[in-house]
Subunit: 336 residues, 2 copies
């Protein structure tokens, strides 16, 4: 990127003056590979891959890792091109009509495997569980920093999903704000609870388990379904069957069940859609909140089969050509 | 697409049970070229292009056109793969927890030129003005159908921007609801007006014209700027300089000034970024509303240089690696 006009290089959060929407302006991220897209192929250079064993010197110093017999199987490192930084001083500033907050936060990368070509869903189940436990530990650790209010755990798999490296990895951002989409879910769930004294996600699970047309997978502890108002083709939700509000309070058994449901869901998508790019993310309670009767944590999986166009940007709504009933039926038939 | 399990093929609007978000489930759109992405090249087959002169029989019957000396210069036709249909009966239905509305609406395509390879911004100015006047006429015509509450006018230019044909065109959807993003802008603007008795967009214009760092272009009647909280690199806003709440009430002179500002902004982006794919859309008052003191109509332009990833889906926020001050400075220096 050649657009450097002496503007500040520190990340900052800026609020839109009209709507309640924050943007992270992160000039450092302009330096990373594929910052601005020109093509949609990921570099697949195993030798130079910063996530491969032997290249550990290419990442910032390790935060955590699982080592067995001298080899690591997963590693967590700070993002080399962070959207936010913990060492920033928290400062809020008005600039005329505008609001700015220094970009305080954390941005970490979870390298999910030491094997360059192995996708997350092809790892053995205990290793996927171990990755989820690592994420749980990081959330619990970051929650001690009271400046941080929420965690965004997400995965961009494939270039068209926003990935910049092909070696399997996910990311964790800790934010000094509660993101809009999570706020909307918390509020929607609270409204339902106030009217009915029930969790709306538990109600959805009840209805979907009865109806079955959008059900993809049921296990003792988890359910995978295509949501009624799926925004994009083959969008999936993974939920604990019992009411649970915070991912990071899951037991080892619950995490293992979640890993298993996630693995099967991703394997079904992989087979049904011929290795699609996808986004995966977690919606869990804001940090340090007591357990909630109204909110139910969940994972969302979005294979990237359609693109965000002018209609989606303009409205905040989507046009989805694939009814979720068709997606679920197809995935139920896909053996994985 | 081979996912046909007997689900209804009629479009319908579905509401998410937790958050206030509608989705258009439009199975007919699965039949169109590139419905689900596999690669990001647009077909560029001039012979088979349904928008080229001589191939008029490939589109549904014409709604409007401008003809000069026997040739048309723009045409408006119903979308062959509509997300919504005017002939649907308006029906609202609850399905357990869920809400459904039959997909009543209109979906039209504006074929902006008879020339297969000519992008909108390379048309002579009077022809761009004429396209905007055609959009204005369609909005005024559709506003007579009282089932319709708002118009979404947008353009997807390039495959990665969601375009499915390369011949220059834009689209118009008339919806039986007011989309969330427009609702949020209307409410944000109303809150500002209630507190200060001023239009927030007029205030933004004042501040930006004074500050200049995010200003791209000023003309007598229009301003183009990079918004303070730009979500994506080189995002631009085009606004009338004077307070105007509804695009469709613009005078011929105002539309011509808007066409000129839009043309220059698109030409600058084209030169600065080497023909980027982009989305363009209009935010104007809901249909049949009286002029508003608080809302100010505008066009938004978003070159597609970054992709929607897990962070954006999860939070509703964006990470933007290019500060708008850098984008604006670069575009000011680009002669177009």
């Amino acid at each position: 990127m050649a657009f450097c006009y002496g503007a500040p290089r520190m990340p900052e959060l800026r609020r839109d003056p009209v709507v309640d929407r924050w943007v992270i302006i992160a000039p450092e991220r302009a330096d990373r590979p594929n910052a601005l897209i020109r093509d949609f192929q990921l570099p697949d250079d195993e030798d130079g891959c910063p996530f491969c064993p032997g290249n550990e010197f290419l990442t910032p110093p390790e935060i955590a890792a699982l080592r067995e017999q001298g080899r690591w199987t997963w590693r967590i490192v700070p993002n080399r091109y962070p959207a936010l930084r913990t060492e920033e001083r928290m400062s809020r500033k008005g600039i005329g009509l505008y609001d700015r907050v220094a970009g305080v936060g954390a941005h970490e990368v979870i390298i999910e495997t030491d094997s360059h070509k192995q996708p997350l869903h092809e790892l053995p189940l205990p290793r996927i569980s171990s990755v989820l436990r690592a994420v749980q530990d990081r959330i619990l650790d970051l929650s001690r920093d009271v400046r941080l209010r929420s965690i965004v755990f997400f995965k961009n798999s494939g270039a068209i999903a926003g990935g910049s490296l092909s070696h399997a990895h996910s990311q964790l951002l800790a934010l000094p704000i509660v993101p809009l989409e999570l706020q909307r879910e918390l509020e929607g769930a609270r409204r339902h609870f106030e009217a009915r004294e029930r969790c709306i996600y538990c109600d959805v699970l009840d209805q979907e388990i009865g109806d079955r047309s959008r059900l993809v997978l049921e296990t003792d502890l988890c359910v995978v379904l295509a949501p009624y108002a799926a925004r994009t083709p083959f969008e999936l939700l993974v939920l604990p069957r019992e009411h649970r509000s915070a991912f990071e309070r899951s037991s080892a058994e619950e995490l293992s069940a979640l890993a298993s449901a996630l693995r099967t869901a991703l394997r079904k998508l992989d087979l049904a859609l011929d290795r699609p790019a996808y986004n995966l993310y977690l919606h869990t309670l804001p940090l340090r909140e007591p357990p909630s009767d109204s909110f139910h944590f969940h994972l969302e999986i979005k294979p990237v089969l359609t693109l965000q166009g002018g209609f989606e940007w303009s409205t905040g709504y989507s046009v989805n050509p694939t009814p979720p009933e068709e997606a679920a039926a197809f995935l139920r038939q896909t053996e994985a």
